[in-house]
């Protein structure tokens, strides 16, 4: 996917430059773009290192487990097909908590463990289960307390207030997560209704 997008961006730019008779801009852009990327990286290192350090302390302090325990009652209702003591549910809550704390590297392993636990009980291993789709929605909506790379970018580009968007990012994440969950619920209902009607026809 990204291969095609990138190819189209570069070719589109070169063709447009040729068409408007400013082909020399292409070579200049390559140099200036590369310079910008390097400057950006230098500024990113400092802020990202700080957040990675804090994330490590948070993990060692067991904050992930505390947050996960607090979140179980909120997340439980969205996974009606899982049992209370399900191993998948435990990993789902840890995955969501890690995302919330901005521990992206910790979130993925928990998410994959949850997927594997759900797949073990999947009667149709080619097709995603209801709970799998809900977990995916939680992850793609990406709700987080600390958008560390954005803070780093804002600081790097000379913002007066690099953390200005932290609260609204969390709010927008809440909106995205709720909308995604509602969409997921409606899609699920639709499918079950269609499945029921299908059965009715056949019998």
């Amino acid at each position: 996917m990204m291969n095609l997008v990138w190819l189209l961006m570069i070719l589109g730019g070169i063709i447009a430059a040729a068409a408007t008779g400013q082909i020399d801009l292409v070579a200049k852009s390559i140099v200036s773009g590369g310079e910008q990327a390097i400057t950006l990286c230098l500024a990113l290192v400092a802020v990202l290192s700080f957040w990675m350090g804090i994330a490590r302390v948070a993990e060692k302090a067991g904050l992930l487990r505390v947050l996960a325990r607090l979140l179980v009652p909120f997340l439980r209702p969205f996974f009606p097909s899982l049992r209370d003591d399900d191993e998948a549910l435990k990993h789902i809550v840890l995955n969501f908590s890690a995302n919330l704390l901005g521990l992206g590297n910790a979130a993925t392993p928990f998410g994959l463990k949850a997927m594997r636990a759900m797949q073990d009980k999947n009667s149709d291993p080619d097709t995603a289960t209801d709970a799998m789709c809900t977990l995916l929605v939680l992850n793609t909506a990406g709700m987080t307390f600390i958008p560390s790379s954005v803070i780093a970018l804002r600081a790097a580009s000379g913002s007066q207030d690099p953390t200005a968007t932290v609260a609204i990012t969390l709010l927008a994440g809440v909106v995205a997560t709720s909308t995604g969950l509602v969409a997921d619920y409606l899609f699920r209902r639709l499918r079950h209704r269609v499945a029921k009607r299908g059965k009715h026809k056949w019998h």
Partner: protein, 176 residues
């Protein structure tokens, strides 16, 4: 909105203080662990570098040649209809596809329009409040060999769109 900016400026210090204090109370060697963790920062930045170089150069060529302007102007009437700043369009298109790619686009928007402008704030919020839907679907379903993903992609993209619209609305509250 004074409340939102007060909340934003308190959220980070409180978070840092809570983490460090909780770590200390639980007997974590806070400084040593911090150092250990921050070594990751360098690694992450180095992994990001090729993505930033490739995307920023592509955007630079696109915008210097006028192709980006042509594309956004083409879609401008549609965007104006929902009150969507057209400068954000490249980010909205790339966000669900690539995390590092859209991070590069965000960097470019912040540099061009300023991080504290309305457009800069929207770009920051958008980048932070959604995740890379297509990548997550590929990794998660790929890891367990699911072929029929049902509605996961659509629900994910609907969540992305909601985050983007929410970013527009909330940032408007922030600047007035």
């Amino acid at each position: 909105m004074a409340l939102i900016s007060i909340l934003s400026s308190w959220l980070i210090p409180l978070f840092v203080a809570t983490v460090l204090l909780a770590g200390w109370l639980r007997g974590v060697a806070v400084f040593d662990e911090f150092i250990e963790g921050s070594k990751e920062g360098l690694k992450v930045t180095i992994t990001l570098l090729p993505y930033l170089v490739s995307m920023i150069i592509a955007i630079e060529i696109l915008s210097a040649s006028g192709a980006l302007d042509a594309l956004t102007n083409l879609l401008a009437p549609l965007l104006a209809w929902v009150n969507w700043p057209k400068e954000i369009l490249p980010l909205a298109l790339l966000r669900p596809m690539s995390n590092s790619g859209s991070l590069a686009v965000t960097a470019d928007i912040l540099r061009r329009f300023g991080p504290d402008s309305y457009v800069g704030l929207v770009a920051s919020t958008m980048q932070g409040s959604t995740d890379t839907t297509l990548f997550i679907i590929t990794v998660y379903f790929g890891a367990v060999g699911i072929k029929k993903i049902r509605h996961a992609l659509w629900a994910g993209l609907i969540a992305d769109l909601a985050a983007m619209l929410a970013s527009l609305v909330f940032c408007r509250l922030l600047v007035v």
